[in-house]
Symmetry: C2
């Protein structure tokens, strides 16, 4: 970690707290590999820390965030101005916002993570074998995690807090559009870690460079233990395609709700509205409603009226359009489509089997739900539908780490390796075997 002057990004804009805390000594513009090597060194120290030390860092982080709300907001204004000038969409600019309210919410989220139980060191399946060996599986940190993400700068802090709590070092590679905000957040992270005596390289903001530098980061086998892409499908595909390090990916959420014959129509209406209207731009929003033909007439009339009140456009199959004249004709491309908008695809199906078949073909293994009164069909749906979260008589919006009791999440995996569904602290660790003996040898 040799001597040298402070790196360019830090030198160019000293934060409010710059004078108060020690800052890392590092050569100008470390390479991606140098950053990863420092992260690996930091990870070794983090892995040995007790929860108390890590929680102290997180509480320091929350304090430093609040104290730096002004410089953060100022850097964010510069990012927003540059984004406007570059013609970014209103939606992207909205996600880019990090004013005082977002800073406060982010600091509060860090405190929530600090209060979660530490997964590291927890043991399961401890048992004494016939030969007297005590064997247990023990949770340990993964090591170095690379977060690759876009737009929302609060992800920088959310991800850092979760990674640190689980004993991992993290390389935070955000998008160019948030680079000034992220740079200040990197200073805040370093200041917080430094204040409590933890390695400042444990959470590093990697400057948003070109795709080549991301590719380099994704090729650092042996230095990076896991890459987590979070963002649009283009970003996730790029990471999946170029990574030589392990990746847990979250593509998109094409969530279905199936209304069974004989279902509670009022419940169905509430589930559809909640799934589609509460927050249409997120991955667990409802994108397609499947309705059993025996339920269609009664259910669709009431549901369509409520959706219309909320300005939702229905893209329906022919039978749907008979029952809901205002519905637009769905095209083939509307099945399996993530609208992320006030648009809902609706299809009338002849059976539960047809609904499962539709989901198998068009679903994204994210979230799938059934509304039914029939216990056998509920169980069949749960058993035969393959998704990270399957629900009976509940809104798809519940597929979320916070809602499902994980405390917080770093993403939702739609691939099955390592994690499937919302990834909480436990997903940022792995289990090893610990064996205690008294001289046993193998026969």
């Amino acid at each position: 970690m040799g001597a040298g002057s402070r790196c360019g990004a830090r030198r160019s804009r000293p934060g409010a707290h710059a004078a108060r805390v020690p800052r890392p000594e590092a050569p100008i513009s470390p390479t991606i590999r140098e950053r990863a090597e420092r992260a690996r060194g930091a990870a070794r120290r983090l892995a040995r820390l007790d929860a108390g030390a890590k929680d102290a860092a997180l509480h320091a982080l929350a304090r430093h965030l609040r104290a730096s709300a002004e410089p953060i907001a100022e850097a964010n204004r510069r990012d927003l101005e540059a984004g406007q000038a570059a013609g970014l969409s209103v939606a992207v600019l909205d996600r880019l916002q990090m004013g005082p309210a977002v800073v406060e919410a982010t600091a509060a989220a860090v405190e929530v993570v600090a209060r979660l139980p530490d997964p590291v060191g927890s043991q399961r399946e401890g048992r004494r074998l016939a030969n007297g060996l005590l064997v247990a599986r023990e949770r340990v940190p993964l090591g170095v995690i690379a977060m690759i993400y876009e737009a929302r700068p609060n992800v920088t802090i959310d991800a850092a807090a979760l990674c640190l709590k689980a004993g991992n070092a993290v390389l935070l590679r955000g998008g160019k559009e948030a680079s000034q905000t992220n740079s200040v957040l990197g200073e805040v992270l370093a200041a917080s870690l430094g204040e409590v005596g933890l390695p400042v390289f444990a959470a590093q903001v990697v400057p948003a460079g070109d795709r080549e530098s991301t590719r380099e980061l994704l090729g650092l086998t042996g230095l990076v233990d896991l890459a987590i892409p979070r963002g649009g499908e283009g970003l996730v595909r790029f990471v999946a395609e170029h990574a030589r390090v392990p990746v847990v990916q979250h593509y998109h959420g094409v969530c279905h709700l199936y209304l069974d014959a004989g279902c509670d129509v009022e419940m169905a209406r509430a589930l559809v509205l909640n799934g589609k209207v509460q927050r249409p731009g997120v991955c667990n929003a409802l994108e397609c409603l499947l309705v059993h033909e025996d339920a269609a007439r009664e259910a669709l009339a009431s549901i369509a009226a409520s959706l219309a009140e909320h300005g939702v456009e229905i893209r329906g199959c022919p039978r749907t359009r008979e029952l809901v004249p205002a519905a637009v004709a769905a095209t083939g491309a509307d099945w399996g489509r993530e609208f992320l908008d006030l648009v809902l695809a609706v299809r009338v199906v002849p059976s539960l089997e047809a609904a499962i078949e539709h989901i198998e073909r068009h679903g994204s293994h994210h979230t799938e739900a059934i509304c039914t009164r029939d216990v056998e069909r509920a169980e069949r749906f749960l058993r035969e539908v393959d998704a990270s979260c399957v629900l009976v008589n509940a809104s798809t919006r519940f597929n979320d780490g916070g809602q499902l009791g994980l405390g917080a999440e770093i993403g939702i995996s739609t691939s099955k390796l390592h994690a499937y569904g919302p990834m909480g602290l436990e997903s940022l660790t792995c289990e090893r075997f610990v064996v205690r003996g008294s001289g046993q040898v193998r026969r």
Copy 2:
């Protein structure tokens, strides 16, 4: 799964049981992609099966193996002859053997797997949330697994049994040197599955082609959920480098044992002998002994004498050679080396820290052990050494799925994602979230 004549491999040598059981109808020489698509279809059916149906298939497999011992041995003789003609090493030819004794052992191992508890459907962390939702994490199969392996043809059956028990379809891509044996084993698998009415494409032997065909298999994202390479470092590296599908990899085992100051010398001697001599060619064999300088004089004399009796060559550091004159001088390349032979590297170190430092630099995250009487140093070693299995006062040879209580293993992962250490049935599944409600919506 359209009609067509039987595939070439099967047609060319009808097995003894060929007339008794239905055989899959398939076009001649399906492509790798076609095989994977059929596997995916089979996986959907397997995922819904109860343990009873899967166990029946495994018992049928054990029966068919025993009934086919003769055709298996005959095909194996042809592989061995071709291998000898091609100049394969004695070690490889030895691993290639599948005579009646190996067939019987393999059939017995299948029966062991049949008796293991089914991981699919098991739930944990089931709880009722404040809003009344019942949430649980439930184990489900991964889907389609591609095994890429070399030499030992019994892996074909071992891997198939584990994958099927966990509800997965499997593509078995063995080495060219075992292709005739594996082809007959593929017939045995199809016959067993067919007999009990399970999809015959659930376990397919993929003909050993060139590396290009392996690369194609490893590129089938969306069809193959996991690739498991098992074999030499060259094979594992090839898979890691070319896979677009997730890989759990097992490189090599460079296992260390550290003899602490004040350790029980007799225990130390037993652990060293067991680690090095019992089966030197396996990945959990001991490759390097680290000895605290205060223990070196007493321990090394006794250990070296015992090792000499077993014909073990010692490659020692200068201090080791002072104490053991027969020791050869170790070169830099001997640290971190997997000898897989009756050779042991020995280094005298000044402290526990130096031992941990050596392991950090030269270990392979496989298996690391300490022999000590001191509880504090035992705990420090366990906490600071990063390996899939860490042991106190026990032989490194215990890092094995069977020995650690997993019942059986499909490999030992030295990477941390998804699995770290021996992979049993549980590693061939993942957890999803299952939510049962009564109309809850998100606020």
